[in-house]
Amino acid sequence: MTTPRTSPSRDDSTTGGESQEVEPSADDDVDTGAALERETAFQVANRRPLSTLLGRPVVVGVLLLALFVLVVPIVTTFVSSFARTATGALPTGFVTLEHWRYVLGFGEYGVRANAIPGLTFSVGIATAGMLLNVLIGVPVAYALSRYEFYARDWVNTLAILPLVPGVILGIAFLRTYPERGGSALGLVVGYCLLKSPYMVLTVQSSFQSMDLRRLEESARSLGASWPRALLTVIFPHAKRGILAGCIITWTLAAAEFNFTYMVHTGDPEPFSLFLFRNISNAPYLQSAAAISIYFLIVVAAILVLQTIGNRGFTTVRE
């Protein structure tokens, strides 16, 4: 007996599922008991539940609303940074690079207001924090993925959950190391600790796709010492994960605000404080240009992440 392809019981399709127009192949596995199915089909057709009619539109509606809220301001900010004026409903007077020139400090605007020294300083600090993270994060990730040991769960929790929020760490830091708090060293160490979970997690997910024990043992049996096996065989195998961790920790450290705001004093001004100054008391379009600089950094980071096969800033395992 053959079930018609347009069996009415499948009409309102799978739940959660793909809609019938998109995936008719879902019918194939319910051929048995078609008579029974046809019977219930009429009942179902008579009392169509509300969720059949509304479920999918509502869920898609929520998705669209969330997308609107998340994306529209980003696009608007970026686009308005090229506009001349923004007094009406929409920015007008395209295209000008004036605001970009202003925040980057080119032209006749004077040196104090510009972003270049801050950007350079932040690049240096974020890079140092990232390198320190490689030194401490990669070994911890390896120990957690390769060995079973006492208190492993505790170490794991400590390593992958940020210990304290940046504001609190900043205050504590300032009192503990008053003379070093605002220095580059203080910022490097603070950024490193605050962003280390991203490094540990990313590298860990890379290690978990490898047979670490076999790899380590074959390298050892071929005569490599343990440090040599790690440095020349295992870590190079995980280089994608390490690279991805580097990019994520670098980008997030470059814009870390809460900790910097609490700790930093003096010159040069880190990039996140430059952003803060622009957001809290600069003309709208100039703020837009300053923020757009950061958007460009993030987009660049995401593009690099995608070329090395990582999905973006997510550390969720595949």
Partner: protein
């Protein structure tokens, strides 16, 4: 013979285990040494940059002097315990973070559901757009709220255009509503990230069976899908609530007459440099966060609430 070791014995035992880690003789001991070598740099950093400062912060809350840790005084803790203002700030922080968590996780479920269950056009673009804000710091999120709800904001201007009211009256960026949007803006991407991972593991056979037995889409979601994604929802709630408590930059810029703990700490330091009170609030806050995390982790695996 007593079963308990004397202090001398315990010390000797500890020393000998340190000795075997430093000078291992068996393979098991060598492995222990390796684990120690690999985890010690991390602990050194965590102690230097994390635990020592936190201990100093506790000492700071008990200090008599404002500028240095000198003398002992429990005044700050007394103020914290008796002054109703602080209780209200704590309560405000909790309910606001809880409400933002609830909304964000609910939206996260819908977004993850739509992405994993329906075949939508431009799915990769949508995924990228939803995860992009994870990289935005709180101050940038605040500006995003201003772009939507500020005086020149898109929504403000649209409503003003249709209703004829003045944009100054309509602007809501620096009210509690704007602040809530700012919270939700930073939290939705995190909730979605975790829930998409959970949805990817859901067994679709049970859903199809329920549907073919005549369950409505909602009934199927309620009785089949929801129990399967419940661990993901709990994990997302833990992570999102933790993040919501730590939000500072957004509040600092939007303010909105609403004081949460992080902002109050900043105010204590900015006005009058009440470092003892700031330290005491910080200690309570960290203690709460750690307790919450460990209680929360009893329900899910640690990896699920990562970041």
């Amino acid at each position: 013979m007593s079963v308990r070791l004397s202090i001398g014995d315990s010390i000797r035992q500890a020393l000998s285990s340190v000795h075997t880690v430093v000078f291992p003789t068996t393979e098991r001991e060598r492995e222990r040494r390796r684990i120690a070598i690999m985890t010690i740099p991390f602990f050194a950093l965590a102690i230097f940059a994390g635990f020592v400062p936190l201990a100093t912060m506790l000492r700071m809350s008990l200090s008599e002097e404002r500028l240095f840790n000198e003398g002992w005084s429990v005044d700050a803790w007394e103020t914290l315990a008796t002054d109703r203002t602080y209780w209200w700030i704590g309560f405000n922080t909790l309910w606001f973070a809880a409400a933002a968590t609830l909304v964000s996780v609910a939206i996260g479920v819908a977004v993850a559901h739509a992405l994993e269950k329906y075949s939508l056009p431009f799915e990769r673009v949508i995924v990228a757009a939803v995860s992009f804000p994870i990289a935005l710091p709180g101050i940038v999120v605040a500006f995003m709220v201003v772009v939507l709800l500020g005086r020149q904001g898109l929504l403000t201007q649209t409503v003003a255009f249709f209703s004829g009211q003045s944009t100054i009256d309509l602007a809501t960026a620096t009210t509690i509503g704007g602040l809530f949007l700012g919270y939700v803006y930073s939290l939705i991407p995190r909730a979605t990230m975790i829930l998409r991972g959970t949805y990817a593991e859901v067994n679709t056979d049970a859903e199809e069976a329920a549907r073919s037995l005549g369950a409505s889409p909602f009934e199927t979601f309620r009785h089949v899908t929801l129990p399967e994604i419940r661990p993901g929802i709990v994990a997302a709630a833990i992570l999102v609530f933790r993040s919501a408590l730590a939000i500072f930059g957004t509040v600092l810029i939007l303010q909105g007459g609403f004081v949460v703990v992080t902002l109050r700490i900043d105010r204590e330091l900015a006005v009058g440099f009440n470092s003892q009170i700031a330290g005491a609030i910080g200690v309570v806050y960290v203690a709460f966060l750690i307790a919450f995390t460990f209680i929360g982790l009893r329900f899910v695996r640690a990896e699920q609430v990562a970041i």
